[in-house]
Symmetry: C2
Subunit: 364 residues, 2 copies
């Protein structure tokens, strides 16, 4: 029986190794040493897998154009989970990629029942402003809206479904509806359209995704091959990142403010969220903790440091050792994390104010 990943599902994926093997995703470690100035998330295995990332490295080496493509669903507050992906986008911009950032406003419209105007405002005030504050530069950035983009993109959107069958879609996605089909095809058009003649023709494109989005990559790569004659599409590459855990240990969810730290949270809120809600891997008592140590694998404060807030590998290593040995207490780890997060957010929030004046450079 074919294994399936449901990109619309809520299920936690735990056995990454098995999925990588089943679907042919390579470990990122295989390309790490060729990757220029690798992100700390790459070195730490948070970005753990890829498909044909070599195409990107190759293009960069030969000074040929390449693209980083991603999408955002405008929904509520921009939080630290979004920030990690934004960092990856900015990393690719720094190593020379042109960026395509798709605002999935049509999808959001269908799901969230907000007007396109409201969704546009969220996309700009929350997402774009935070990207800029995190370091995104204007220039080679196409920040576009699904509801308002170039004709060639819509044309592609109408062509793609002609060369895929239900049987294939069911093999990839399991159950499917007309709404899901248009959503999936729209995403394929998003990923492929940077390679249209109107956008400069075939070139390597990398899409950073969570593994739950891999079905879209497989379908899109298949479709790329089926439009060889017309467009000479290069099958898109992808990187795979782990998700930052929610504060309480489950999923980080836009609809539950106590599951995340927003980039706009003030220092007091951050302190409360981490001290009171962040799931701890520490012992049940100080005595027990001192004896057995804490579990960094499930500790949310530790994971926040690892994913985003402690850039110093040696410091992180020391915290890990101290916490696991019981030398560092949960309260101390959390206190350290609160300080790191608040210092990061305080500087970020200042940059947010400055970012406003730059917005127009990103919108055509």
């Amino acid at each position: 029986m074919t294994k399936k990943i449901d990109p619309w599902g809520k299920a936690d994926i735990r056995d990454y190794g098995a999925i990588m093997k089943d679907f042919g995703i390579e470990p990122f470690s295989s390309v790490l040493k060729h990757t220029p100035k690798p992100m700390m998330q790459m070195k730490r295995g948070i970005i753990f897998g890829h498909r044909e990332f070599g195409r990107i490295l190759d293009a960069r080496k030969k000074r040929k154009p390449f693209v980083m493509m991603t999408g955002l669903m405008p929904s509520g507050k921009f939080h630290i989970g979004h920030a990690m992906l934004a960092r990856e986008m900015i990393y690719f911009q720094e190593i020379g990629a042109e960026l395509y950032v798709c605002v999935a406003d049509i999808e959001a419209f269908n799901v969230r029942r907000k007007s396109l105007q409201e969704l546009r405002k969220i996309a700009i005030d929350e997402y774009l402003l935070n990207y800029i504050a995190l370091g995104m530069k204007p220039g080679k950035v196409n920040f576009y809206f699904q509801s308002n983009h170039q004709t060639a993109y819509y044309r592609l959107l109408q062509m793609l479904p002609q060369r895929v069958t239900f049987a294939e879609m069911k093999a990839i996605y399991g159950d499917i509806t007309p709404g899901k089909i248009i959503s999936v095809i729209t995403q394929a058009a998003d990923i492929l359209h940077p390679q249209l003649p109107e956008n400069g023709g075939p070139k390597p494109v990398v899409v950073p995704v969570g593994i739950d989005q891999d079905p879209h990559m497989r379908l899109t790569r298949d479709l790329a091959a089926r439009f060889q004659r017309e467009f000479r599409f290069i099958p898109p590459s992808s990187t795979y990142h782990e998700f930052m855990k929610g504060l309480k240990g489950g999923k980080m969810s836009s609809s539950d403010p106590l599951s995340y730290i927003a980039m706009s949270d003030d220092s007091k809120t951050v302190r409360t969220k981490i001290m009171k809600y962040a799931f701890s891997g520490g012992g049940n008592s100080i005595k027990e903790h001192r004896k057995h140590g804490g579990d960094t694998k499930v500790d949310v404060a530790f994971s926040m440091l690892k994913f985003l807030f402690e850039e110093d590998d040696r410091k992180l290593k020391k915290i890990k050792d101290d916490y696991e040995s019981g030398k560092m207490l949960t309260g101390e780890l959390k206190e350290y994390t609160v300080e790191k997060v608040n210092s990061f957010l305080s500087a970020h929030q200042k940059r947010m104010d400055k970012a406003k004046s730059q917005v127009d450079k990103f919108l055509k």
Copy 2:
């Protein structure tokens, strides 16, 4: 079991009465007396059915805006079958409708393997020029390409499939593929988008179709109801016409030049096609014909006169009587038809030359 009509099928539909009853199509005769300056095709029952045509009559009476919406698939030569539909479009323009004419170039691209540029050229040089020569006036005409239209249209295209299920699509169409879904949804967007706020909001729209296209009308009317909250769509109206028979008695087909008379055929070609190929309802010998008469129901020359070329009802009646009684011979009927067609085409071809200078007024 639900009866189905396959709009992609080649099947001849014979029992119009049963289908009208099954699917709730009203006879056109029920609105004929309220219809202003009815076309001869309406009076002769060639346009035989409708759905909610009253909305159109009402809008016209109250001097409110209404729309005639139709599509064309750019493929080869413009022939007398196309001319009949063009006449209906022009009729609606004359009684006050704004026209929306969709060039289905994306669909044609997917089916015919011609470039969008070639298809655009066919749409303009064959279709638009003939429309103008047949009497279409610039002004309230939106002659647009599926591949190159307004954003609001593409936005609608992405929203519609969110509110329809596979079960419903299967109930209407039987077997369906991703390609058919996008094609069907595109047609629904074509029919509904004249009512978007960007195009002036809700208003009655009439779509002249063959009965094989009725499934699209049913789906679109259902979808209209499901977007009440957002757009207050009025369910589109439709008229139903019989198809002109092909010369040899079967279907008129763009891919078989001996099945039609092209608007660009010269008089010699017309003579050969009618004399040599047009299926005759006459007797097997003159003797037999004189005795039993001819069958106007299957005679292609007679049907050409009835559908398009003999506008005088009394003359048509006399020909029918004379042919059925055996007084008029097949050769005489064909000769009369050749004259009528050639006189029509000769004037038309002169108008075609003049039409060229008008094309720009129809393209924005």
